[in-house]
Symmetry: C2
Subunit: 143 residues, 2 copies
DNA sequence: TATTGTTATACTCTATAACTATA
DNA sequence: TATAGTTATAGAGTATAACAATA
């Protein structure tokens, strides 16, 4: 059944890159991008943290996260408070409207993808659900 | 088992976006990007075609494909020949060295991902393999 | 001196709008 | 006039290098 892990890696890479291209392009109706959603989802699931910690958790470099946080802050979706003891650090928190948006989008977001998923049979959906769990562990492994 | 298709859509979107971020960032050792690989893979699988057809097949806009083709042409990985009867069109073909590179990379590419996949149990690999097929059909559906 | 975060800068990927050449 | 492709331009997302503030 499993012929070649390397071939699977290549196929998987192309599949996720192509799907991401669709997802990014089709989100123009939403107020936030997938990158912003991803950061907000992490803040929601793991609680407030410093920009450095969020960058590490999202596996991007600190300057990249600075930009994401700045854009979310401009939209009022996150708050930045000083660290209580270390003046170098700041704490990024999901704001009330950020939490609301996250909840709203969890209902309405990815309409294109949801529509297609609804046409799949239960077995395919179960497979995708397991795959999401596997992919998440792949990415969250230490480098 | 399948609780909510919309929730799955959100989880799947975040998972593929994060994995794509890794894959793009880690390919600096390769001569070509994932976008370029994707276009070359399509040319390899479906044969020579016009830029417009390749853009449609890859689900990007024509100007985006123009740039991808130009970069591949600069690298000598594709060839551009005039259309036999319609002077407006051109035919894009995978060059010999393009085909070679595709074959070589099929062995060595995605080392990071391959390494992680090799640590998975056979059941997880089978799940991913099925998931790749499902994701591919999702993206290739008509808009 | 080491750490945290930011600024400056640049590159890739993608899009839309406008243009050119051909049909 | 319509179509195929390109050029011009812009914006998002990411990176590295250099800087400032604090520990």
């Amino acid at each position: 059944m499993i012929s070649d892990t390397r071939a699977l890696a290549g196929d998987l890479a192309l599949a996720v890159v192509r799907l991401t291209r669709h997802l990014r392009g089709r989100r123009t109706d939403s107020r936030v991008s997938l990158t912003q959603m991803s950061a907000m989802a992490t803040l929601s699931q793991e609680g407030a943290m410093t920009p450095g910690a969020l960058a590490a958790r999202e596996r991007v470099q600190p300057p990249s996260m600075t930009r994401v946080i700045a854009s979310l802050h401009d939209l009022g979706l996150v708050e930045r408070t000083p660290h209580p003891t270390d003046g170098r650090q700041i704490i990024v928190t999901l704001s009330e409207s950020g939490a609301e948006l996250l909840a709203d989008e969890a209902q309405a977001r990815e309409a294109w993808l949801t529509e297609r998923l609804e046409k799949l049979d239960p077995d395919s959906l179960a497979t995708l659900q397991r795959a999401v769990g596997i992919l998440s562990t792949l990415v969250s492994e230490n480098s």
